[in-house]
């Protein structure tokens, strides 16, 4: 899935470390689409996903000098995004508990934006559009039944099609733990989606 030239990334990272904003801009353009989609799957809100993705890049710029290049830039930046998503979800959970704030539930505008998130190739066929919306809603609901860790592993595996070794690096968990989480997540999803 990821066919980036790692050597090019290394070059861009080294230029960015010297303060070259254009080089960093190139890195942003390379990874923004996938990062945004990952954020969108992790936090279930388009606005929040945009904020988190932007913040990920800002933080990457801020700490790029301390990036030791032991892992790839891709792994590093995805790790930042996953951590930011966790912080965000934790904050949302506390706000919900302490202030009884219903921000967890999407507001009307966000709901409309999600409905509009349709594959452009199906827009001309209303039946396909309806079916797609329906399946997306069902899959999103089923995902909501997973624990946070299961969701992360599931998203990285089935949406981003990463290898277990890559997921292990991003989430800082052993490969065995990833396999166990994947097994649990898939079984739960199979149970929820058996009627579709």
């Amino acid at each position: 899935m990821y066919n980036r030239d790692r050597d090019e990334d290394i070059l861009l990272v080294q230029k960015s470390k010297k303060g070259d904003k254009d080089a960093f801009g190139e890195l942003v353009r390379r990874y923004q689409s996938d990062l945004y989609q990952l954020a969108r799957n992790l936090v279930s809100s388009t606005d929040e996903a945009e904020d988190i993705t932007a913040e990920t890049f800002v933080r990457a710029w801020r700490y790029i000098k301390s990036f030791k290049e032991k892992s790839s830039f891709k792994t590093w930046i995805w790790k930042i995004l996953v951590n930011l998503s966790r912080t965000h979800l934790r904050r949302r959970y506390l706000q919900n508990k302490i202030f009884f704030w219903q921000g967890f539930f999407k507001d009307k505008d966000d709901h409309i934006k999600e409905i509009e998130w349709i594959d452009p190739s199906t827009e001309s066929d209303p039946e396909k559009t309806f079916e797609q919306k329906n399946i997306q809603q069902v899959v999103r609901w089923a995902r909501g039944r997973l624990s946070r860790r299961e969701q992360e592993v599931f998203t990285l595996k089935y949406d981003k099609e990463l290898k277990i070794s890559e997921i292990s690096e991003i989430l800082s968990l052993s490969e065995n733990t990833i396999k166990v989480l994947l097994f649990r997540a898939t079984k739960k999803m199979a149970k929820e989606l058996k009627d579709y």
Binding site: S33, Q37, T53, Y158, L182, T186, A190
Partner: protein
């Protein structure tokens, strides 16, 4: 290997993580085990629905916003300097007030009451003393 182990291998297979050498044995097991064959079918359907339910890619250009954020210079004092500074000032203020605590000056009225109370206590003491003396206990 039991069915639970084979089911884990089925998941790895659909996740493209199963080593090729394990595939033959797995196929043989699926031919004889109805439970695992059904499980395999369910997982295949699930993966199919999940792929259909994927959100399509949406292109947003984050660079203009990110560029603005990383370029803006902050002229205000950094929060990492301001917060400790204010905390130290507050602690210093509290410490000063506590250490150099000046007692409240008693009012004349208060002093009078204290004086009167003192006199009452002395009088009562002397009365008791007289009683004791009369009873020759002293």
């Amino acid at each position: 290997m039991n069915c639970k182990d084979y089911q884990k291998e089925i998941l790895l297979f659909y996740a493209d993580e199963l080593p090729p050498e394990r595939k033959t044995e797995l196929d043989q097991h699926l031919q004889i085990c109805f439970g695992c064959a059904k499980f395999s079918n369910d997982i295949l359907n699930t993966v199919d629905v999940i792929k259909k339910g994927r959100l399509p890619k949406r292109e947003i250009d984050f660079w203009p916003y990110v560029h603005k954020r990383i370029t803006v210079k902050h002229h205000l004092i950094s929060k990492w300097i301001l917060v400790p500074l204010i905390s130290m000032l507050l602690i210093g203020l509290m410490f000063t007030k506590t250490f150099f605590h000046i007692p409240v000056k008693a009012t004349c009225m208060d002093m009078e009451i204290v004086h009167e109370l003192g006199m009452i206590i002395d009088y009562e003491f002397l009365e008791d003393l007289e009683i004791l003396e009369n009873n020759e206990f002293v």
